[in-house]
């Protein structure tokens, strides 16, 4: 089990203790602890199905944990709906994006917090803001007035990320935000994460990309098969160590592949030339 210094250290905005969650016969989370501090980027990593998204959804009020406590800003909270989590100041970009396919980009961006003039939606102002937000993220979206169903994978993800920029959250959780993004957009999102940190937000970043994690995270928490499997300080760890914690072994497909790579390269080039 990971040992973090103290449950509620100074500056800790969000702290989880002993979170468990079971789905039918599958124990998705077992006794998970996690601390996030203000002005820190905490990377949450783990293999597929390790329980990262389940943990994020538990914090965001989508699931209620079977067990364990959540402390936010020093108070124990029981978040039973996403609306409550938002009210607390937790913004989330879900892995499954959760967009309304039948609505256009503008409507999705402002869903649940539409701008209004009196009681009437202010479409013009929303559209203007949308373009601004999307430009910030280098998004290549031809029109914000088409339903998001017709957007490409990366465009959809950009819309979901842009959503989280509205409002003034204390904690931002990004569940694999750059998975579908192009190189330029990924860079912008990493910039964004750094800006969030600078503004003193706590950020939970889930990613399978070790390079990105090492680039922006301060600490890395590893989940393995639904349990804590260590917390690492980025400055003092190598990505090899983290990968070992993720896969649960030091010799694994990744290292094997790395070792084989040079070999392979040569033989395949030979194959082509023959």
């Amino acid at each position: 089990m990971s040992v973090t210094p103290s449950p509620v250290a100074t500056g800790t905005v969000l702290s989880l203790q002993g979170i468990s969650k079971r789905f039918g016969a599958v124990q998705a989370l077992k006794n998970v602890d996690l601390d996030v501090r203000a002005g820190e980027v905490l990377a949450l990593v783990g293999d597929n199905g390790a329980g990262k998204s389940t943990l994020v959804k538990t914090i965001a009020g989508v699931y209620t944990p079977d067990d364990g406590t959540v402390t936010f800003d020093g108070r124990e909270v029981h978040v039973t709906s996403p609306a409550e989590a938002q009210k607390l100041g937790i913004a989330t970009v879900f892995q499954d994006l959760a967009l309304c396919d039948n609505l256009d980009v503008v409507a999705n961006l402002f869903l649940g917090r539409e701008l209004r003039r009196g009681r009437v939606l202010d479409e013009i102002e929303m559209e203007r803001t949308s373009w601004e937000l999307l430009k910030q993220l280098s998004a290549k979206i031809p029109s914000v007035r088409i339903p998001v169903a017709s957007l490409s994978g990366g465009q959809r993800q950009t819309v979901a990320i842009a959503r989280s920029l509205l409002g003034e959250p204390k904690v931002v959780m990004l569940d694999e935000p750059t998975a579908a993004l192009g190189v330029a957009q990924t860079a912008e999102v990493l910039n964004l994460v750094e800006r969030l940190r600078e503004r003193g937000h706590g950020v939970i970043l889930i990613s399978h990309n070790m390079a990105d994690v090492m680039a922006v995270a301060d600490r890395v928490a590893v989940l393995r098969l639904g349990r804590n499997n260590g917390v690492f300080n980025v400055a003092e760890t190598s990505s090899q160590d983290i990968i070992a914690a993720i896969t649960g072994a030091t010799d694994n497909a990744v290292s094997e592949r790395a070792a084989r790579r040079v070999q392979d390269k040569i033989s395949s080039t030979e194959g082509l030339e023959s």
Partner: protein, 427 residues
């Protein structure tokens, strides 16, 4: 082996100067369309891609009218068209509620029973108990509200499918209607009461009707010009004034022709105007308010709406309540027009017709797609068929079959135009 060719980007894509364009037109993949010619090109392209909104239904309606007029010359007479407006108001009002529940992806099978119950309550309190008419109406509508809230509560608390809840409602409120009507069974509403007068004999004075048309067009033009100004200020594209005027002219034509025709007989029915006003208000509520946006979002993806912090329960509750309320109001309109209430008021036909009207008008049964105007269009289609075939004195067996054929015809036109969209794979 390939010869690697490094593309030089500036050569490859002919970039227009982006700064010269509004923010929403800067993407180079957008096919430009400016001015009236551009608008026409955009319209044609929309047509091709099957993204036509209510136009196909309107075309279907026009074809039906043509066919019916051809079979009996009185169909398009002013007198009969006035009848048609009177006949459509009640069904349309009920269908409007159905549009809302369908937008949510739910269903209400009980609108007929609710309309029957509300009219029974109104009749019994007004005629037998001598309540003042306003109180009787209020009571009946309040019952509609309560029923909807009850449905909403059952749905959100216990998760019973709305199909089953409202099926139980269909039976239960039919029973209650029989109970309320008691042993007399059938009640007359006095012909000289305000309600019957409103439904049967109240028509807009012709000058007022014309004035209304002008006012509506004026409001349209003004709001469009204001929006245009706002968009330009925000750095967004805006339709040129020429297009606004063109559309205004079109709107004027669509409004003025019926008024002229109807005025040759009794005129524009107040009850129909009441229904139109309901449609316009509901359309505004759906498209321009936060509540309406939430309804469409919930219908599209409940989970996404929930995660966006929308009060999903509240939305369900309000929509079920509105649907039942509109059903109650529709029941009152139907009863006033008939000047009587009996055990068969709001029979099962009303349910099916109201749902069919919404669907024919283009509202999806699967949630998230639809418009208040589909209640208007659908009710007109259904009542045109009934009305037109009633002029023909067919055997009932033939009448049923012709109704089916005409209905299918009207909707096939719509579906064919939509097909391309479905075939595109993401619809």
């Amino acid at each position: 082996m390939t010869t690697p060719v490094k593309g030089s980007p500036s050569e490859v894509v002919a970039v227009q100067d982006p700064a010269a364009l509004p923010a929403d037109l800067q993407d180079e993949r957008l096919i430009a369309s400016r001015g009236i010619g551009g608008a026409w090109a955009a319209f044609v392209s929309k047509m091709r891609s099957g993204d036509l909104g209510s136009i196909p239904v309107v075309i279907g309606l026009i074809i039906i009218w043509g066919v019916l007029q051809a079979s009996n010359g009185s169909f398009l007479s002013s007198r009969n068209l006035v009848n048609l407006t009177l006949q459509s108001a009640a069904l349309g009002t009920i269908a409007l509620g159905i549009v809302l529940v369908l937008l949510l992806g739910e269903i209400d099978l009980s609108v007929g029973s609710v309309s029957g119950l509300s009219s029974a309550i109104m009749a019994v309190t007004f005629v037998n108990q001598d309540w003042p008419i306003a109180l009787a109406i209020l009571g009946a509508v309040a019952v509609g509200v309560l029923i909807g809230v009850f449905y909403g509560a059952l749905y959100t608390r216990f998760g019973v499918p709305s199909f089953v809840i409202t099926l139980a409602g269909l039976l239960g409120f039919l029973g209650l209607q029989l109970l309320v009507l008691g042993k007399d069974g059938s009640l007359n509403l006095p012909f000289d009461s305000a309600l019957v007068g409103f439904a049967q004999r109240s028509f807009l004075p012709t000058p007022l009707a014309y004035g209304l048309v002008v006012a509506i067009v004026a409001v349209y033009v003004l709001s469009r010009i204001r929006a245009r100004g706002g968009r330009i200020k925000a750095g967004l594209s805006a339709s040129p004034n020429s297009i606004i005027l063109l559309k205004a002219a079109l709107l004027f034509a669509v409004l003025i022709v019926p008024v002229i025709v109807l005025s040759q007989d009794r005129g524009v029915s107040t009850m129909f105007v009441f229904f139109l006003a309901l449609v316009v208000v509901m359309d505004f509520a759906i498209r321009k308010t936060r509540w309406g946006r939430s309804v469409v979002a919930v219908g599209g993806n409940v989970e996404a709406a929930r995660r966006a912090g929308i009060n999903v329960r509240g939305i369900y509750l309000s929509v079920f309540a509105l649907c039942s309320t509109l059903a109650a109001v529709g029941g009152l309109l139907a009863a006033s027009r008939l000047a009587a209430v009996n055990q068969s008021s709001g029979g099962t036909d009303w349910n099916l017709n109201a749902i069919a009207a919404a669907v024919i008008g283009g509202t999806s049964l699967f949630g998230g797609r639809g418009s208040a105007y589909s209640a208007l269009l659908g009710a007109l289609v259904i009542q045109s068929i009934t009305n037109g075939l009633a002029l023909l004195s067919l055997d009932s067996s033939v009448r049923y079959m012709v109704t089916a054929a005409v209905l299918l015809l009207a909707v096939t036109i719509d579906s064919l135009s939509r097909r391309t969209r479905v075939a595109s794979g993401r619809a």
